[in-house]
């Protein structure tokens, strides 16, 4: 085992895949000597050079469109978009083109593209650099959507994403420095499989991305109240691991769904529906399902206000305790 940060884990996945297959190519702004906006690709240009690391002008729409065209011809592009907020600019190529190419060619063309971008608040970057826009894309058939949290998952899922035949959106949280022990040997983590980050019996906290850390902290503190919380890290949003959600809720009988994106219309609604539609999970419920999500407002710049936006462990604990009172 070795200790790697989230940043290093993604970088190692990219480097291993680029070494394995020279059609794996990083495409994006400031990827070269600068190392990308969050330094994820730092040092890679020295090893792989301009054939596998392509720096582009500031042209998000065309960067993604160009990557789609290249992917159709055999490249395995990994596109970096500096901030998830700029996914609005990439929406046409992702939604109308990458997601439709296999269908409109009746299976003759593939777009094996990975779209990497970081999302979420906590950086003091205000309303246009801190959003969580995953639900802009989760309703689009043809896309696969990952949003892992821990270094080991980031590495294993990035490698699977690069080897996948379909377009994969790989959303990253910005806690790039968080470390974890990960295996030395080569490994893959399958797309579409959730992971139980902490086992528990009394309540399921179902989440993904940065709020996995918040949920784990809440679960640790809930032990003081003799509540054993299970933390389900979805890791993949599409295709969703419904079996893992159902199994956990059937076991615990209580569910709190957590994400940083605003509550209204957020992906949590899909998770709640998954539970409500399943006869066994529905019957197992001892209390209504709760949601703890980002506040329904743009991200304020002010540090104290910004901190109030995403779910805190306090808000998660309060929601859990409410389920035990009802």
């Amino acid at each position: 085992m070795k200790k790697l940060s989230c940043r290093e884990a993604i970088r190692e996945a990219l480097a291993e895949e680029m070494l394995r297959d020279d059609n794996v190519v990083l495409i994006g702004e400031d990827l070269g000597c600068y190392g990308g906006c969050f330094q994820v690709t730092a040092g890679l240009f020295e090893t792989f050079g301009p054939k596998q690391i392509i720096e582009t002008p500031v042209s998000e729409e065309a960067i993604v469109g160009v990557s789609i065209g290249a992917a159709m011809m055999g490249m395995r592009p990994v596109v970096e978009i500096m901030y998830g907020d700029f996914s609005t600019l990439a929406a046409d190529p992702l939604i109308n083109h990458a997601a439709k190419m296999r269908f409109l060619s009746a299976g003759k063309l593939s777009v094996p593209l990975v779209y990497r971008t970081p999302m979420g608040s906590g950086t003091g970057a205000a309303a246009q650099h801190t959003q969580s826009l995953e639900s802009m894309f989760t309703n689009i058939p043809g896309l696969k959507i990952l949003y892992p949290s821990m270094p080991a998952d980031l590495k294993g899922l990035m490698k699977s994403a690069i080897r996948d035949q379909d377009p994969v959106l790989f959303f990253e949280h910005k806690l790039y420095g968080v470390e974890e022990m990960i295996p030395e040997e080569d490994y893959l983590i399958p797309i579409g499989k959730a992971d139980i980050k902490q086992k528990g019996n009394d309540v399921s906290i179902i989440t993904y991305g940065k709020t996995v850390f918040t949920a784990l902290e809440a679960a640790r503190l809930l032990e003081d109240d003799d509540i054993s919380a299970e933390v389900v890290d979805l890791r993949t949003l599409r295709p969703l691991d419904k079996d893992a959600i159902i199994a956990s809720v059937v076991k615990t009988g209580r569910a709190v769904v957590v994400h940083e994106a605003p509550l209204f219309g957020g992906f949590s609604g899909e998770i709640v529906a998954t539970i409500a539609e399943h006869p066994e999970a529905f019957r197992a419920l001892k209390a209504p399902v709760a949601r703890v999500c980002g506040l329904d407002m743009p991200t304020p710049f002010n540090k104290h206000l910004e901190l109030e936006l995403p779910p805190s462990h306090t808000r998660i604990i309060d929601a859990v305790l409410t389920l035990f009172r009802s």
Binding site: E61, A62, V66, G69, A70, M73, S105
Partner: protein, 329 residues
Amino acid sequence: MAFELDKDKALSTLSLMLRIRLFEEKIEEMFSYHVMHGTTHLAIGQEAVHAGVSPALDPMDWIVTTHRCHGHTLAKGSSIEEMFAEFLGYSNGLAYGLGGSMHLIDVDRHNAGSSAVVGSGVPIATGMALQLKRSGSKQLAVAFFGDGASSRGAIHESMNIASVMRLPVLFLCEHNMYGMSACARDMVSTDSIAHRGASYGIESRMVDGNDVEAVFESVTHAADYIREHGKPYLLETRTYRFSGHSKNDKKLYRTHEEEQQWLQRDPIALFEQRLIERKQMSVIQMESLRQSIKDEMDTTVEQLMNNPQELTIEEAAGFTYASKEDSAR
């Protein structure tokens, strides 16, 4: 002296222009009888561009077309049977009936299909050129777009990228004067879209898009330039859409006089006149060619419609993601 196609090439070019015209007229007829579902975008009047581009290129060069893609697809050599079947939504169509009129595609003939979001195919063709270059190929990619789409940011971004990365892409503007109804006079900031090439450091030219030999010569020149210099090229072809934007267009946005003026320059009539003057073909031969193509269209459609074949919804859904077998490749 103006460029002239040799006799064989001239005859095959006229034959292709007639196939395109008669194919679209057949489509128009089928829509008027309500045989067809959805809508269609005809390009009657633009046959010189269709017949002058792909035939001037290497068959291995790639094209990315637009929603007005019938002529380009025929020019790449697709079968009319598979094309009509696609229009009818049949599973023996080019895209198994999943795309229809706006999404003709024929990967085996290096036609990567169309984006029906105007202008969005241009970055895709640019990306195809990027991978062609990376893999050491001498092929190029053609990005078709219209005067309407020329206002899209994606096209400007793509031209800048193609220029700085030196990509083998032919930006082919099919300027037919109109977006849906909006006239280029009111929508495009410059007299010639080709002039915009200079601002991206891209060589460019404007050519009479109703003169098939002029288009053919310009495309040949552009392709030679792209392959020799490893740089993109912008070619603007000036033509006119005799048809409306799509079915049910009353064409209220333009005058009868304007249409009549352009009809005087019908690209097929112009080319036929030349062939007669050069004694390369007689009027009788032309009539017989036209009739045989028309018969082929009628017979093909009749045979298809006698044997309709459709995918099930499960089969269609199977093309949303790669299958396990695809993934193992």
